[in-house]
Symmetry: D2
Subunit: 333 residues, 4 copies
């Protein structure tokens, strides 16, 4: 069975997902696209022999579309996800699920009313083989119950429009989701510590040290450091009562030369997480086709938003900010 | 465009490739199968909605079949590959290409007469990301011209029918192909050194140390060690004039526990090379569809056979055995 | 020239230093000992053919004693160090220099009045080859100016009398000194974050995450985790503007066995820092003999005390505590 | 107790050992020196306040000399070692013990006649912490009985007078001794394989691949590669029936910078084995003083000579050469 997919938003990320569905993922076909830029939509549609729709709503409603991918501009996510829920069609929404907690809650309400899950949010790290291995170690009990998590999220550089808030909402939000998932519990507090600025980042308040606390009291610190030049480097260690598990270096080779032995650091998120994206979409298509389960849910999107909001407040106010989620609907257990 | 594939031989490996083409690879569809075991053929065909053919020849000749995969019993490979060449259809043949050098040469003759390549042999290591990175380092010139290659091919255990010759023809043959490809030159000599037996392998003469020499004088040693219990471990280092490149540990995580920090060794060849197989078939399908080039050729199959034969002779005679290949047809340059 | 050393306090650590001076360090001879336990003093003296003194003061004043080591009970350190300053004799004082900042300042005053340094404090990590290599990388400028330091100080277990304050004053104090030395600047703020308790440590509030800030704004976090069972593990990474440097695994071998490759984690501080202690004492003896310079100073002892005091206050009050040192006397520049 | 040492030969290595005995090792004093270069002898003697002797024989016979170190020119070793045996004084002889097997046997005869060991040969790798850890793993039985040993001995460059034979007698001889010691058995066969030349070494036949066989059939290969530029790199892996143990990277730090993470390769043998030398001499002095046992014996010196000779013959004749040692005198068991 082939899943016929409609894609809303065919910018850089949308096009990458279309390429993935077409050339990498098995069992999928892109049959419909739409974009505010009609010309671009037409061009992309042409390249994969898909139909162009004037609006996301029309695309979602079309009978030929089995499942929807939303990778349009963030502020439009809520509308399209709600429309997909209304149409009872599986929808994969790139992060963020929506741009406010309230919007996320409206989505949760709609999906809960529908009575079964259709929404998946694009937290691809859960599909990364190293993170999965890390989770398996934690779940095995080998290192004992976690007490702390240390992480670092380093980028070589960021574009000029990047703000300090984006270090939380765009960058650390992945670590927030990953930690919630690794530990299987919610984050209930956030604070932000501010080291001296990296001069390579100009005026940007960078790096930051975010410190979160979970329900059970696990402390989770993550360094965001987005102008560190040397590479895209994602580090993580979960500290348990009797041991720890950390992400290993992911270099394919070691080169001995000129007084050193050296491994490669990945260049950017594409290189680091390409496998995660491929697996994410393959498993989503499989789940849509009835083989397997959907991944990160509306609840995960809401929780990530709530934690991010708290961290942004902590950044602005130099304070410790508590996080109180609504009661979790049964649908998400 | 979808490539319609016919599969000859639906034993364990054939079934695995069918699963891969169906659930992993993009752009392929299994439309035809055949097997000496008609019942099994019928069952597998049913599961993927393919047609069953009574013979490989009929399958190859069917107009619905765009490309052929041969994973039947080794002695049948020659016949099916020749038939595919006669039909001018792309054929992916699992190793070995054929069971004798003479048979390989008949295939080369037929393909040369056809005038363009249609055959690809299943040396999947060339698609492994770590080996590809290793080749990129060599080709960059960073370590200087190679002088030696050290390798080890370790299996936790082998089945009872495994013979010492198979350590060459089934096991080290992968290392032979990889080294030819990494260095871009032919192997011209072989000898086999025999350490004391590993008692865990019973009467099997195991491990062995194979030592090959290339055209330019590079010395290539590979340890085959197929009862070493601890895991499936593929090691390799290419030594250049001013540096070396080696395969890095491929563990996803490091676990600190009980006095050690530890990474994972892969359990079997499936785990170690699953990505290589996936990429191999995706690139083969892409090449068949006109996007990209075919991989390991009939020439590579022939050369591997010639080197293996020499090594088996060296094993039997405790001697250094020279290898003389025919002149390489232009088709393979 | 042989340096004749008098040792005040011959408990476990004193005896270890005597062994070191006698069997490892070159150019030293233990000629005098004293201890509140006269019997133990006599026994130890006998074993190395040294003279026993009734009091530290008498030992310090004896003409045969060139240099003094103080490893008696912490509360007695001030008195003996001041006596050594009064006698103008080099004195090596195990940490802490004294049990209060005020006492440290009295020592600084006395030494400043004397006009030249005689005091060295036992911060042995500055002699550890790995930390020295780390400092060389920082000083080379290769990673750019530091912005953050991440560290962990893990012990397999601690004795029953260990308190949460000791995680700062006995454990993290080493990391405090190391970071001051690595960065070449003072720490000006401290706070303590509290993860959930490790149940293996009983009622002890353990682990902790201490976060310090330096003059230039570098953020330095250190995990203390003293019941983690798996080993004695000292981790550290200095994050610079364009790179980082971290302590490497220090295992001598890698063992491949049973599905893993594994290196060794050191068992206790003795194993981890034995070389640092040996080098520390050799360099101290050399410096006393006129070849080389003294190591960590009274100022370092005072600064460590001030930072520890602030961290203990932060622990008690759950607050961010500032640290204001006196102006640094020229003697220590 | 202080051991009074006389040093025969005060060239570069002799001076380094004198520095070590004077400034690093505890319990030793250099009281006598001699050298064919009388002026140099006088200068060195002056610097450590030792007496100069006109000949090695006079130095050995002097009552003030408790123990002798021989680091004069190789051809003189036999004479001085025999003289020390005659005088019943402990003698540490730098490798080689003597320049022929026959000379080694004369030393063995003399020492056997004396009835107790006085000779130790300078195979310092047995004191290297990593090799000791490797031996502990082998002896634990964790990896099962050894079947193979892989090693590499790489130097950045060698002086102009270095010959291909020296790759065996000066370079690989260390690996020969180490392997005999690690495995606790003798080497009985040698052959030499010749890769293409490294052009950086000019006309020198370099690298080489030496392959040895032990009594029990363990195969031991060692790459000598003495112009490889990138550093001084000693690699080793012992392969057992169910696992392996290898020397780990010995870098103190990892630096992340410019797209790589990198550790340090040691620059030369001094850096790599400085600890081994220090421990070697400390343990030798301790043994001479009655605390501990002597290290590598005359037997080890003889066996290394016999194996080296065989390898040189194998190099010259391109043949497999057998090694037959005399029966081992009880003194060396």
């Amino acid at each position: 069975m082939t899943v016929n997919v409609g894609v809303i938003g065919v910018g850089m990320i949308g096009q990458d997902h279309i390429r993935r569905l077409t050339s990498v993922v098995s069992g999928a076909k892109v049959v419909a696209v739409t974009d505010v830029n009609a010309e671009q939509a037409a061009q992309v549609a042409d390249s994969v022999d898909a139909e162009v729709f004037a609006t996301g709503q029309e695309l979602i409603d079309d009978a030929a579309v089995d499942a929807v991918i939303v990778c349009s501009w963030g502020p439009t996510h809520e509308e399209y996800v709600l429309a997909a829920i209304a149409a009872d069609k599986p929808v994969f929404c790139e992060k963020p699920l929506a741009t406010s907690q309230e919007a996320c809650l409206r989505i949760i309400d709609a999906e809960t009313a529908l009575g079964h899950r259709v929404v998946q949010v694009g937290y691809m790290r859960r599909y990364d083989p190293a993170y999965r291995a890390m989770k398996a170690v934690i779940d095995s009990g080998d290192i004992g119950a976690p007490t702390m998590v240390h992480a670092a999220h380093r980028n070589p550089s960021v574009p000029g429009h990047y703000t300090r808030e984006m270090a939380i909402t765009d960058t650390a939000v992945h670590d927030i989701d990953t930690t919630r998932w690794l530990l299987g519990e919610e984050i209930v507090g956030a604070r932000v510590l501010k080291p001296r600025k990296n001069s390579l980042g100009g005026d940007l308040e960078d790096p930051l040290l975010l410190v979160f606390e979970t329900e059970s009291g696990v402390l989770f610190d993550v360094e965001t450091n987005v102008n560190i030049r040397y590479g895209y480097d994602i580090r993580g260690e979960v500290v348990g009562e009797r041991g720890t598990v950390s992400l290993a270096e992911s270099t394919p080779t070691l080169v001995r030369r000129g007084g050193t032995f050296a491994g490669r650091v990945t260049e950017d998120w594409r290189e680091r997480f390409i496998r995660a994206y491929d697996i994410e979409f393959q498993e989503w298509i499989d789940a849509v086709a009835g083989n397997g389960r959907l991944g990160p849910s509306s609840w995960d999107g809401y929780a990530a938003a709530a934690v991010s909001d708290a961290a942004v407040e902590a950044l602005h106010n130099n304070s410790q900010v508590g996080i109180k989620l609504i009661d979790k609907p049964d649908l998400y257990n």
